[in-house]
Symmetry: C2
Subunit: 208 residues, 2 copies
DNA sequence: CGGCAAATGTGGACAACGTCAAGATGCATT
DNA sequence: AATGCATCTTGACGTTGTCCACATTTGCCG
């Protein structure tokens, strides 16, 4: 994808992506329209077609950016957290939900396959992010570290990771789709996420 | 909503709802089109407007049906499960994921607020289902029973329920959105759900 | 330095969509 | 039998995604 030196506009590709995020932020995913994006960027309704094959391609580009940004956020949460590997797990989980709250447009797009180009890629292992630095890998490594520290029971690491991922993903989805009635501010969401992740870590069942 | 005695068609409202589910099953949520629904039902492109105010109203009707069906499924899973209240929890969680696998069209619609009429209702407490028999209430009651049996630690029941719900909801969402690569059959999904729910019940952390 | 090809942007066109308006058709009640 | 309402059809309008033909700018190459 060569888009380094734009000719007429300046950087229309970038402007279109930003405009698309703005449009989604204002009108939701359903309100995302190629023509409206072009309008907001101040170009004709056909200009986008010189930068994206079609609407799905634009969405896919946003998704790619989202996953890259997302992986960075997860890695940062992991690195910044102090304490045991379990504490790092909690930190990563909270960061997941915070990311959804702070980037709802990208997050909704990232896990909505009917909009993006059907390249069949898995959300958990997105092509645009090197396998070893995806958000999913961060969870895997955190779990492995916790296992090494003897804090997490042995067991199929993929199952454990899927369970942990499901929990934060589900919470994020519910918060976003619930019209923010579950948690209306990032702070509330953070508190909720912390409690939820800690339930996942320690389990529903009473400890003996 | 009075639709007992149809005049010309037989029961066009019902036929439209069924056709809509078929359309979604074939072309995904993005392919859901009022005109295509009408076509599949064998009526003109405007006939639906005598049964639904607009497209969102049709979707809302599907969502309502979905939540009712869903609540029944959850209740049945709870009643049918044998063993402790924790076993019942697992059964309900598995039923959640199975429902998503077996009714993907409804499930996707149910948790996608941008499509339905903006009545601001929460997914977890849907208006069409009596408060005391919603799927969420089943989880609440299961948790309360487990607490009474001393199997679940004391604590804010809403937080515990949200954590449990998030886990199965997230898993269902990931399975559905991952183009079925995580689990391609209901059987696989069931096995995965069982493992995931058990991780939630017992926790990631090693038991002493 | 001049000119050409590719990259970029514009306008018009078309089918499909959601929706509105107006007319036609059949059922039910009086 | 006649009236009235619920139901369905046809036609229209504005908007969307996408294709096409054309204009303009840019970088490159002789």
């Amino acid at each position: 994808m060569p888009e380094e030196k734009p000719y007429h506009h300046g950087d229309l590709r970038r402007a279109l992506l930003d405009a698309a995020l703005r449009v989604i932020a204002e009108g939701g995913v359903a309100g995302l329209t190629l023509r409206e994006v072009a309008r907001q960027a101040g170009v004709s309704h056909n200009a986008p077609y010189h930068h994206f094959a079609d609407k799905a391609a634009l969405v896919t580009a946003l998704v790619d950016e989202g996953f890259a940004q997302f992986a960075k956020t997860m890695q940062f949460a992991y690195d910044a957290a102090t304490g045991s590997a379990l504490d790092k797990m909690v930190s990563v989980g909270v960061a997941y939900v915070r990311f959804a709250m702070e980037h709802p447009a990208q997050f909704r797009l990232m896990f909505r396959p009917e909009l993006r180009a059907s390249d069949g890629c898995l959300p958990l292992k997105h092509a645009d992010v090197p396998e070893t630095s995806s958000g999913y890998e961060v969870v895997i490594r955190a779990l492995q570290a916790a296992q090494r520290e003897g804090l997490v029971a042995e067991g199929d690491i993929d199952h454990l990771a899927l369970a942990a991922w499901s929990t934060v993903h589900g919470l994020a989805d519910l918060i976003l789709d619930g019209n923010r009635d579950i948690a209306s501010t990032p702070e509330e969401a953070t508190a909720l996420a912390r409690m939820t992740v800690e339930v996942m870590v320690h389990g529903l069942a009473k400890r003996p």
